[in-house]
């Protein structure tokens, strides 16, 4: 199943292409990390980010290949090009990490996040919430006379925008999954 069939060190797109241009402007990168699904592997990845002072904007993880015991971690991070290169190289050192892909440089990728939001209100606000949800293609997954729970998927910006619109309409709770991402094409 693995969409990532590149081997460590084998690709010119891999984390091992070591000729970055150093600039001090922060960039946002989406990394896909294929790991052995063993206990503690997520702690290793998170510990690396906290221990070395890197940023995590979002992180998702789930097993993607049951027979091969592989999990895929998607991390959105920010840093200067040098820091991003370090992050990739440091991730590559972790023994149960098999592949590190920088989706931001390897091509164009599809990014999606799922969020569920609870909006509490009545009257005009309630109608407006439903109308906006329709525009954003959010689904109602639970409803009472005074509340909706919406489910929405999209790029993080879309979810941010939806949340901003819902806030004055009675937004009380949000749960977001973080970004999942894949390269486009084959």
């Amino acid at each position: 199943m693995s969409a990532l069939n590149l081997k460590k060190g084998a690709s010119k797109h891999s984390a091992y292409n070591l000729r970055p241009t150093f600039s001090d402007v922060d960039e946002r990168h989406t990394l896909a990390i294929l790991v052995e699904n063993e206990p503690g592997v997520l702690a290793r990845v998170i510990g690396l980010f906290s221990g070395r002072g890197y940023n995590i904007e979002s992180l998702t993880v789930a097993e993607v290949d049951h027979t091969g015991h592989l999990s895929r971690i998607t991390i959105v991070t920010t840093g200067t090009p040098q820091v991003i290169e370090q992050i990739k190289a440091q991730l590559g050192r972790i023994v149960p990490v098999y592949e590190v892909h920088d989706l931001t440089v390897e091509g164009t990728s599809v990014e999606r996040e799922l969020a569920i939001l609870k909006v509490v209100g009545t009257g005009e606000k309630r109608v407006e919430a439903l109308r906006l949800a329709d525009i954003f293609r959010a689904n109602v997954v639970d409803s009472t006379l005074e509340s909706f729970v919406f489910e929405i998927t999209g790029v993080p910006d879309k979810i941010d925008a939806f949340g901003d619109l819902m806030r004055p309409l009675g937004l009380t709770e949000v749960a977001r999954t973080g970004v999942a991402a894949l390269l486009r094409g084959n």
Partner: protein
Amino acid sequence: MKREMTGAEMVVQALKDQGVDTVFGYPGGAVLPIYDAIFQQNDVRHILARHEQGAVHAAEGYARSTGKPGVVLVTSGPGATNAVTGLTDALLDSIPLVVLTGQVPTFMIGSDAFQEADTVGITRPCTKHNWLIKDTNDLARTIHEGFHVATTGRPGPVLIDIPKDVQFATGTYVAPKPSASRYHPPVKGDINAITELVAALETAKRPVFYTGGGVINSGPAASQLLRELVDGTGFPITSTLMGLGAYPASGKNWLGMLGMHGLYEANLAMHDCDLMICIGARFDDRITGLISAFSPNSIKAHIDIDPSSINKVIKADIPIVGDVGHVLEDTLKIWKARGRKTNAAAVGKWQAQISDWRKVNCLAYTQDKTTIRPQHALSRLQELTKDHDRYICTEVGQHQMWAAQYLGFEAPNRFMTSGGLGTMGYGFPASIGVQMAHPEALVINVAGEASWLMNMQELGTASQYRLPVKQFILNNERLGMVRQWQELLHGSRYSHSWSEALPDFVKLAEAFGAKGIICSDPADLDDAIMEMINHDGPVVFDCLVEKHENCMPMIPSGKPHNEMLLATDETSSAIQSGGAVLV
């Protein structure tokens, strides 16, 4: 080979199958089954340290001096937490270790059981990898994987946490099979990049080799190839603290160590070169000084097996990911095939420039008739021991730097020191590990009195196993390196940087059944050193030296290479506020 046995028996069997002859350890409740299995065999020798930290440093000394992984066995809880400093030390210095810890039984994990600690959690950031075993059937395979991971790629410490019920239970033993591992970092460098390096070697006018611990890690063949390349090209070579001995100190292209306390000629060569060939070194802050002024006009080639070392600190123009031995072999092959070219005329001029820098004689000191200067003590030690089959360990501080400056290392794996973590208390136990591996050799630990006291309990180990380790203590009754920084940085306010209530080292040695020697008169020094060498047993040598000597040369923190201080310079305001925050 598949056999049924208990987890404890598996541990011993796996160690045998991995070729382990020596384990350093300390028993406790959670490892009793393994100790019982050890008791019932004679192939694997167990050395009882006096503290788990000592056991780990001893294993580091064993590993660094043999190139084989060091093995440690300790109990759960306090046994494991006492091992943490040694693990971190080994991680920073890339020393292969396999550390086995006992753990409370699986069904009690998480219940705050007696001597329970989250060992894999605590040691995750200070090991290359670690495992908690939950099933006896996974134990043998994981131990073999542990040896593979510790010794493959960039070496480092691994830890395997073994709950007591896993040790008692029976399971299937499997023999080592390295191909079973998924961990195989590439060792061959990219040929295009290597060819680019060769082209740079051919035209460089002011080249310098900057080598490090990676050459030692790669094995003795890498040192041989390095020597061939250096002598073939005639380029000057310097090394980090961790790489000393890869190229012989008596070699004609040798510049001496570089860095904060490196030699004048080595640092100026680094600053002024037009081609820097970094081989298995990691641009540590002790080396670079002020980054923005680091070797401003050079092309930098960097050979390292760990991609994260490259571009971490200094941008590499020619990055080569691979094992030093493999990359140097290809480099030499291509360089020879293209006709062994160098820009000899320009390199000749460069060597002449370096000879001028050498004339500064940055390690000069004057020895008077009354007080032994530490530099003198080490010069005499060098003179009187250089023809021996000799291994040197150090503690951490001024004496460590003087050892690097005044002792000559002719071969790799002969210098054991804590570079990255700078762990006081490393040297004595390390010397025990070295002596275990090399029973006939002369093993000397160059120590400061403060560092030495940190693991002095290991005198019991040295005596018990009749290990003739020589503890050469340069006793300045000061935390010398700290005192030096206070002098340079904090207006000579010597806050808590002296060693008070010191023991009588001679009596202390005798109390443990070792020999003690004290020496304070320069006139007696040679005889005292000879007495130390000739004594067949552990010796504690209390060498009373000048108390306020500074270790020079020195590149003050936050300064570039070409602003180094020499012994003759005024040092009072050498480090300014910008540098003061650095360590």
